[in-house]
């Protein structure tokens, strides 16, 4: 599989990572080397094998539907970059 500079830019956009035009060629070279390593997976016949997503077969537990946590909004927001009136502030999205 051949990755292109356009792929790098597309992936960076999807991952919300700014990659500058000067950085992109080096990122491409390193990703290509890593994908060459990963490519070996394609050589295996996995027909009929069930994917393994977890090491233990566990089912999600259910608990009683009652409030167990206290409201710690203020504490949690005390470490945020920007808050006002209990809200997290980000740049304006809708004009």
């Amino acid at each position: 599989m051949a990755l292109s500079l356009d792929d790098v830019k597309r992936i960076a956009q999807l991952a919300r990572l700014e990659v500058t035009d000067t950085e992109a060629p080096q990122v491409l070279a390193q990703l290509q080397a890593i994908f060459a390593l990963i490519e070996e997976l394609q050589s295996v016949d996995t027909h009929g094998i069930e994917p393994m997503s977890h090491a233990q077969q566990v089912t999600l537990r259910l608990r009683e539907d009652r409030v167990t946590e206290e409201n710690e909004c203020e504490l949690f927001q005390s470490i945020a970059p920007q808050v006002e009136a209990g809200l997290y502030l980000v740049p304006k999205i809708i004009e």
């Binding site: 990703l31 890593i34 390593l37 393994m52 090491a55 945020a80």
Partner: protein, 485 residues
């Protein structure tokens, strides 16, 4: 006292030969004096540690002594600690003070242990040399020009240099065992689900597990017993009765069947490491163990599968670092998307960005089946192979890492070379089985070699017993680096 085992420390504390305050001062003084040459700790807070030590001394006076009461323990900087920075080795969390303690931190506090500080690590636990830390590389106390291994390199170096008696680390693809091997200490990655990950910053959630790092297997048993156990706040925590992981320490290993996988002794294994591991296996034979050959032919696929699955999960887990609720935010940006992109570009280091991009790609439309799903199927084959092998043997042994500690900077420019260093450590977390590393000799350059012992699910107590029986007849685990013992 700096070379004492955890049980010796507990006895000295119980017998009032030393107080927890004195013990904590002893290790704090060493940490403050010696850490600048190692960079093993990123946070030391003597005042807070000594306050915990004073509380522990009161508990001891009241006769409320547990195995770790008053004993200093270091925490990898991946565990949330109320009131202390938790940076995960990253700039993006350089100002993050968690509002709560991780489950294992609560457990240690509950047992009266003293938190000695937070240890350095590869950024978000992504690395095999502790060089990707935003706070600079950890140096190996055996040779300060070599790496300490990673990602729990700070915990390993701190224990090896006797800056702390024991530490907690985390292991996703070898991050406890490989630094333990390179620093000449013991380290255990438990079965997936045995230790709660509540408050442990996530890297790859189907693989991550917390475990103990210490000088000996007996010490690992003490620490694991203290931190393991069910926690409803971690959905992958297993509901099992609590265990005494030291129960098999004195059990005979006569007749134990040791599986040796040929695939762990092939190309890529340094001759000096292979020699030390074979000598260790011969030592087990003299203790009455039998050696059987087992086959793990999928070993060659473990690195490719791991470097699809772990980055995929990481790309999802690390989406939360966006400069909105906590951590670093870029100072200048034009709009919301630009704020995300600049915050993450400036906040993450090169290796973390690389893995996020690999993960994003293998999960993206049109590639999911070919990479992510295929890697999950290969993972099943790997787990099945271990299940077959454990029909023939009780434990599997091999090298922990292909070489002894390598030079700082030797592999930082070539990510693939760094990844290949994980060849013997990624199989166990992929299968979800427990695995440990203990010191078993020295290589040509007088640097430590680690022996890896893998066991079937929930065999930690037995594996620790096997390791302890070896350590009863050898002294590799008692050796300290020159100037630190």
């Amino acid at each position: 006292m700096i070379n004492a085992s955890l049980s010796e420390l507990a006895q000295a504390l119980a017998g009032k030969q030393i107080s927890s305050v004195e013990l904590t001062q002893l290790f704090l003084e060493r940490a403050q004096r010696l850490n600048p040459g190692l960079n093993a700790f990123v946070t030391l807070d003597p005042e807070a540690s000594l306050a915990q030590a004073r509380a522990a001394d009161e508990r001891i006076s009241d006769g409320q002594l547990q195995s770790l009461t008053g004993v200093p323990v270091a925490l990898k900087d991946i565990f949330c600690t109320k009131g202390w920075l938790t940076t995960c080795g990253s700039k993006i969390l350089s100002n993050f003070v968690a509002p709560y303690d991780a489950h294992v931190v609560e457990k240690l506090k509950g047992a009266g242990a003293v938190s000695l500080g937070k240890t350095n690590m590869d950024e978000f636990a992504m690395g095999s040399s502790s060089e990707t830390s935003y706070y600079g590389p950890v140096r190996n106390p055996w040779d300060r020009n070599t790496v300490a291994g990673g990602s729990s390199g700070g915990s390993a170096a701190a224990v090896a240099a006797r800056l702390v008696p024991a530490a907690l680390g985390t292991d996703t693809g070898g991050s406890i065992r490989q630094p333990a091997a390179l620093c000449g200490i013991s380290g255990l990655k438990p079965t997936y689900g045995v230790v709660s990950r509540y408050g442990m910053i996530a890297f790859a959630s189907s693989l991550d597990q917390c475990g103990p790092m210490a000088k000996s297997a007996a010490d690992l048993a003490v620490l694991l017993t203290a931190v393991a156990g069910f926690d409803p706040r971690d959905s992958t925590s297993l509901e099992r009765p609590s265990e005494d992981y030291g129960r098999d320490l004195e059990r005979s290993i006569r007749g134990l069947r040791i599986g040796l996988p040929r695939e762990f002794f092939g190309e890529g294994l340094a001759a000096d490491v292979g020699q030390a591991v074979e000598t260790a296996v011969a030592g087990f034979q003299r203790l009455g163990c039998q050696v059987v050959e087992v086959r793990l032919p999928q070993t060659r696929l473990c690195i490719p599968a791991y470097y699809v699955l772990a980055p995929a999960e990481a790309s999802s887990n690390l989406a939360r670092f966006d400069g909105v609720r906590y951590g670093y935010r870029a100072p200048e940006y034009t709009d919301l998307r630009d704020m995300y992109m600049k915050t993450r570009a400036q906040g993450f280091g090169a290796e973390v960005k690389r893995r996020i991009m690999i993960g994003t790609y293998v999960l993206s439309h049109g590639y999911y089946d070919a990479y992510y799903l295929q890697a999950q199927k290969v993972r099943r084959l790997i787990a099945q192979e271990f299940a077959e092998a454990f029909k023939l043997c009780d434990v599997i042994m091999g090298p922990t890492a292909p070489t002894t500690a390598f030079q700082l900077g030797a592999k930082t420019a070539d990510p693939v070379q760094m990844y290949l260093n994980d060849i013997y450590t990624v199989p166990a977390p992929l299968a979800g089985i427990p695995a440990l590393s203990i010191p078993c000799g020295f290589g040509d350059n007088d640097l430590p070699v680690g022996l890896q012992i893998m066991g079937n699910y929930f065999q930690e107590a037995r594996m620790l017993g096997v390791a302890h029986q070896y350590q009863r007849t050898t002294d590799w685990h008692l050796r300290a680096p020159a100037g630190f013992g």
